[in-house]
């Protein structure tokens, strides 16, 4: 990469996020409320720069964090969803064979010689997420979200590590593509298996906890702006109590948002047992969980139940 472009990008990032407070404020401007710990981790991911590994329960906003970061930078969010058996053709690039074949046929019809160099040029390349992230032209780095890395095989992990370290991809037919603006990599894992130490060594790490009730109420109100403030507070408190219970699937932030939206549609202003009963489907996604909470009594979730 040209050093000039790189230092230019660095300066631009520095100007955008001079310190952690500014980052937190700008994240809030794109409707993402990060607490001190997450804001600090994101700050260093941007400024060191260093890939960041995010872990946390489902629905605490791991993916949202990456989206918010991309929105803040005004750059694309490039997402690679991992799964078992994912390979280079699906993560990096693939030649567009049907199109190449078509070009060959056309050339034959026209009696022109087939130019192989043209066949293996950028025009016939399908860019998968990793290549797209490496090729991102700037001026600010793209955000590369590598989602659920633990689902991919470990040899893919090793390959990814190399790619993140070099910020370059070699395509035999084209040569090496080097990033002018290395992407900001956010990795998430659900911890179904241990990631390699080598990868963890390269990454910053942050465990995202569920937000506090106040923060969650604020998040909910950002997403459902016309919901009453009291309702958001009620639901945030109720969701917190649900997470303490022994549920199979404790509700995430998304469920809290859905719940408020559902309650608002019904014209509910404060959460009570009857309203909770009508809308339980929005927040508990297992029949057993719903049963358990109904047995224990939904008034425990109602407004003010936990305040006394």
């Amino acid at each position: 990469m040209s050093p000039a472009a790189h230092s230019g990008a660095e300066a631009a990032v520095r100007a955008l996020v001079p310190d952690v407070e500014t980052l937190a404020r700008r994240l809030a401007e794109v409707d993402y409320l990060a607490d001190e710990g997450l804001a600090t981790a994101l700050f260093f991911a941007l400024r060191l720069p260093q890939p960041l590994l995010l872990e946390g329960e489902a629905g605490v906003g791991k993916t949202e964090a990456a989206k918010a970061l991309a929105a803040l930078l005004g750059t694309p969010l490039i997402r690679l969803q991992c799964y078992e058996g994912i390979d280079a053709a699906e993560a990096l690039y693939e030649w567009n064979y049907p199109r190449q074949l078509l070009a060959i046929r056309l050339a034959e019809h026209g009696g022109e010689p087939v130019d192989e160099r043209r066949l293996f040029s950028g025009d016939y390349l399908i860019r998968r997420p990793l290549l797209a992230a490496i090729e991102h032209p700037g001026p600010l780095p793209a955000v590369l979200l590598i989602d659920e890395l633990d689902r991919a095989d470990d040899d893919f992990e090793a390959f990814l590590l190399e790619l993140l370290a070099d910020a370059a991809i070699t395509i035999p037919e084209l040569g090496t593509v080097r990033a002018t603006h290395p992407p900001l990599a956010i990795l998430t894992s659900n911890r179904t298996r241990d990631l390699h130490d080598a990868l963890k060594r390269r990454c910053l790490y942050h465990w995202i906890d569920y937000p506090s009730a106040e923060r969650e109420a604020a998040i909910v109100r950002l997403r459902v702006p016309d919901a009453a403030r009291e309702l958001a507070v009620d639901v945030a408190g109720a969701v917190r109590r649900l997470r303490d219970g022994e549920l199979q699937k404790p509700p995430g932030i998304a469920e809290a948002i859905d719940w408020v939206a559902a309650l608002r549609l019904l014209g509910v202003r404060r959460l009570d047992a009857a309203a909770a009963d009508r809308t339980l489907d929005a927040v508990l996604k297992y029949r057993e969980d719903q049963q358990l909470m109904r047995e224990r009594g939904l008034q425990r979730l109602a407004a003010g139940a936990g305040d006394g």
């Binding site: 310190d19 952690v20 607490d35 001190e36 710990g37 600090t40 981790a41 700050f43 260093f44 400024r47 060191l48 260093q50 960041l52 590994l53 872990e55 489902a58 799964y83 078992e84 058996g85 994912i86 390979d87 053709a89 693939e94 030649w95 064979y97 049907p98 190449q100 074949l101 060959i104 046929r105 034959e108 087939v114 633990d150 689902r151 659900n190 911890r191 179904t192 298996r193 241990d194 130490d197 963890k200 060594r201 990454c203 910053l204 790490y205 942050h206 465990w207 906890d209 569920y210 937000p211 506090s212 923060r215 022994e246 199979q248 057993e288």
Partner: protein
Amino acid sequence: MAEAIDLPAFAAAFGRAVHAAGIPVAPERSARFARALALAPPARRDRLYWTARAVFVSSREQVDAFDRVFGRVVDGLADPAEGRGDPNAPPPPGTRAGPRAAPPHAAPLDAAGEGGAPSPSGLREPRPDGEEAARERALPVAAASALERLATRDFGQLSPEELRALRRLMRELSLAPPPRLARRSRRDRRGRRVDLRATLRAGRRTGGDPARLVLRRRLERPRRLVVLCDVSGSMEPYSRAFLQFLHAAVGGADAEAFVFATRLTRLTRALRGGQPDLAIERASAAVRDWSGGTRIGASLRRFVDDHGRRGMARGAVVVIVSDGWERGDPALVGEQMARLRRLAHRVVWVNPRKAARGFQPATGGMAAALPWCDAFVAGHDLNALSAVAEAIATPRSGR
């Protein structure tokens, strides 16, 4: 910390303290920490905390140990283990002993080696000094008859030497869960899918006409093997032998290993690699509730919630080693077994007491679990263990 302190020196010293607490720290991390401190000088205590934590911690299990080091180094506090609080509040001065009941982080290796770690009674074996090692080497010569005897000796009655011999035999046990189709494929003339890339490349030789199809077929990969082993009081005679079994499973079949009594502990990492004695010692040191009471249902729920549901048990062969003596509510065992079975490919229950004369699976937990097991085997001695291996290798029949 506003005064001009020597950042690199502070960073290096802090890194050493974290490392000493059992969190692996490569020098590059200390360097990264120094850069981070220079980038955003921590004006407040909690900023320093989050900065150090983002750099040094790389899994949630390490957070507690990290908090203690941070408390000690930064606040000069001894070891306040009673910190509590809201998970989102910035950590109080001292420590933040996680509100989620401290998952056991592996004890530092040297502590385990020097006999400083809490050792489960009767489970610690002497370190392999010269004499011991010589005896182990001599064992193969000690005649096949000894091995023969070993094959039918109940695991509950083995001497330390026999246990040692057993370990080697366990390693030879082939634990191979049935395969599943992988996404990945390989060129194969009898394959079903056409490999366009290779077909076209080959076609270039015939003037751009793909004259010969290159075929691929899906690869097969072994399913994941997950072993959950009960180490509560009633299972104590068998604990050592099955810990060796876990070690063999992790080493030989890349299995995930857990033990439980009152709580669930993941041992995969502790058991992986290195010298077997050390690995097993490391694993025993990581378990906090040896020979405790049994909460099978709660432990299973922990497993399904924290690991199984997230994908570890999906399509896997899950082996549970337990006598089924549940202190808690047997109904919970049944409930959690039902969940586990919905996730797993097969569930195999190994009960070493099954071989005893007059055994009836009447103990509450066992009776509740049985309807959800695909196989129920004894596994009380080496011969019986090959039946376990067989049960693991059996593909699922239509349920």
